[in-house]
């Protein structure tokens, strides 16, 4: 072997290594974003880093995480769900009324709404419709239904749901355990099973999947049904925490969920999503939007701006990190 050949081989190995390093850094970015926000909190208010502090700050983390995972499934199939927020609100209203007073009816309605999501997936695929418009329309439908079910804020969460969400495990706050559990389950399902690969493939290269004999109609239906399922879980978790419902309770979740997926390293096209990243992204957002800002002496006027600024700082930090790797 000549020296030149050896040199070439070494060069090849080093570019391979660099590519692997870049990929790893990329997958670590969501965790780094979360660490960055945690560091900022620890620096601003050391007392917040405690069992009680985390329980308070991550109060709404479970529903946000579930809504983000819901959004992640449609994004995996190159679609976008602009109705997830009002859907969470609709589920909340059903949970606080029918699920408590007439559990059987409540269960049927919630299961039916997952079926509606599956049908939407079929409709979008069969008629080749832009999901943005269909889900935009559905966002009005869910909100309208929510107002019809619960015209005024009120209702009450079922007792079993209240006690579930009030669960206080030793040492580690419940939202963290729940987030780990959600991340593990979805990661296994979507990243480690063979059908999970097919689902992501429908966003990566639909034509290739079709030629390999898989039904794109089925993948779209499954992805949308999963979005519906996690939307239902998100709405129920939300009502378990807030104890009563309001037709507008979930409206902010649409944009939060999209932001969470993107913060978590997901991309709008190409089936590139990461369940663990999405959970980390959702936690970052939950912390950024938490009551933490009130005891940081930020006047209420500027609270929303602080959320935006945190989002921008996290993204700026990510750019710095990914530039360094080049």
């Amino acid at each position: 072997m000549t020296a030149a050949a050896i040199e070439n081989q070494l060069k090849g190995a080093s570019t391979r290594n660099a590519a692997a390093r870049a990929r790893m850094l990329r997958s670590l970015l969501p965790a780094l974003s979360l660490a960055l926000v945690l560091l900022a909190i620890a620096w601003l208010n050391p007392r917040a880093i405690s069992y009680f502090g985390f329980s308070l700050m991550l109060n709404l983390a479970i529903p946000i995480t579930l809504a983000t995972i819901a959004q992640m499934f449609v994004i995996a199939g190159n679609e976008l769900d602009l109705s997830i927020g009002t859907f969470v609100g609709f589920v909340g209203c059903v949970t606080a009324t029918w699920l408590k007073d007439a559990p059987l009816l409540g269960i049927v309605v919630l299961a039916g709404s997952i079926g509606v999501y599956a049908l939407l997936g079929a409709l979008i695929h069969l008629r080749n419709l832009p999901s943005i418009v269909v889900t935009l329309g559905m966002s009005f439908v869910w909100q309208g239904l929510a107002i019809l079910i619960l015209p005024k804020p009120g209702g009450k969460a079922p007792d079993w749901l209240l006690s579930l969400m009030a669960f206080k495990p030793p040492f580690i706050p419940f939202p963290i355990i729940a987030a780990l559990l959600i991340a593990a389950v979805v990661h296994f399902g979507l990243m480690r099973t063979s059908y999970g690969v097919i689902l992501r493939g429908s966003g990566g290269n639909a034509a290739a999947l079709k030629r390999a004999g898989w039904s794109l109609l089925k993948t779209k239906i499954v992805l949308f049904a999963l979005t519906g399922l996690f939307g239902v879980l998100s709405g129920m978790a939300l009502i378990g925490i807030t104890t009563s419902a309001d037709a507008n309770i979930g409206n902010g979740y649409t944009l939060l969920a999209i932001a969470g997926v993107i913060l978590g390293g997901g991309e709008f096209v190409g089936g590139r999503v990461s369940p663990i990243g999405a959970v980390l992204g959702a936690l970052t957002l939950a912390l950024a939007a938490s009551p933490l800002l009130t005891f940081m002496h930020i006047p209420p006027d500027w609270q929303v701006a602080a959320n935006g600024a945190i989002l921008i700082i996290v993204l700026a930090a990510r750019v710095l990190i990914s530039r360094r790797e080049k």
Binding site: L82, R127, V134, L136
Partner: protein, 315 residues
Amino acid sequence: MASLQTLIAKPWIWSFLGALLVWLATVAFTGGYGGGGMITAALSLAVFTVIVGVGQMFVITLGPGNVDLSLPANIGLASAVAMKVMDGNDAMIVVGLLAALACGMAVGAANYLLIWALRIPPIIATLSASFIIQSIDISYGRGLQIKPPPGFADFTNWQILGIPVLAILTVLFTVGAAIALQRMIYGRSVLAIGQNIRAAWLAGVNVGRVRFLTYTLSGMLGGLDGALLAGYFRGANVDIGNEYLLASIAVVVIGGTSVAGGKANVPGVWGAALFLVLLLTMLNTFGVSAGVRLLLTGLIIVGVITVAGGQKALR
């Protein structure tokens, strides 16, 4: 017959047909009463959606992921700026309008700065920006009780033979936008970028500049809309632009512009805006409750898009 066929092939025809059907349904319900007034009212209200819709259309045409979510916050802030600068004084109308335009342009430029400097998807960039703008507006517009100058309020409500002057001006503006889109280098560049950003870049299109101009344009139109809304509704308000987030996207897409980018449609924005406003008027005339109104609006949007059908995939 050939001309009829080309007319049917136009994607925007559906939105106008929808608007016409809704109007006919309402007039049939009222027994022919108030049909003219309904058109006047629909034109006055549709104007505000059309103005931001055109801005949003240019942004969406840039390609997948491009969307301006900061419009509602932008409209809110510009409405406050316009009212504060005009300060109820007729002599300051032009200055106030310019201030609102400048405010909107600054927002648009800031949006693009975030997209360019942080290389983040526009959805997230404009969303983060909107949080900050909203806070500036809350802080700046606190307790703002300034009425628009009487001259300005009259102007926004001015009608000639039942046709709002603002609507006539907006029609002229949309004609200009259509020419800019189809016949000018800027518009062709926007379309080229939306079809294939890399090909456009290789063909020598200054991609960065065109995208910057587009986001600034969208911001500017948001600013203009804010000032006009404050004039029409007699005062600024933090929430004045809230409904225009979904409405601006809805009119663009119902109007036949492709969400995948590279294909835009200006007349469709008008048709879709009239359709949505008339739909709301119809449901109000029928006297349905807020919940039913939302439910039917949503079902009709889904129904229209299903019937009008998606475009065949290019690849």
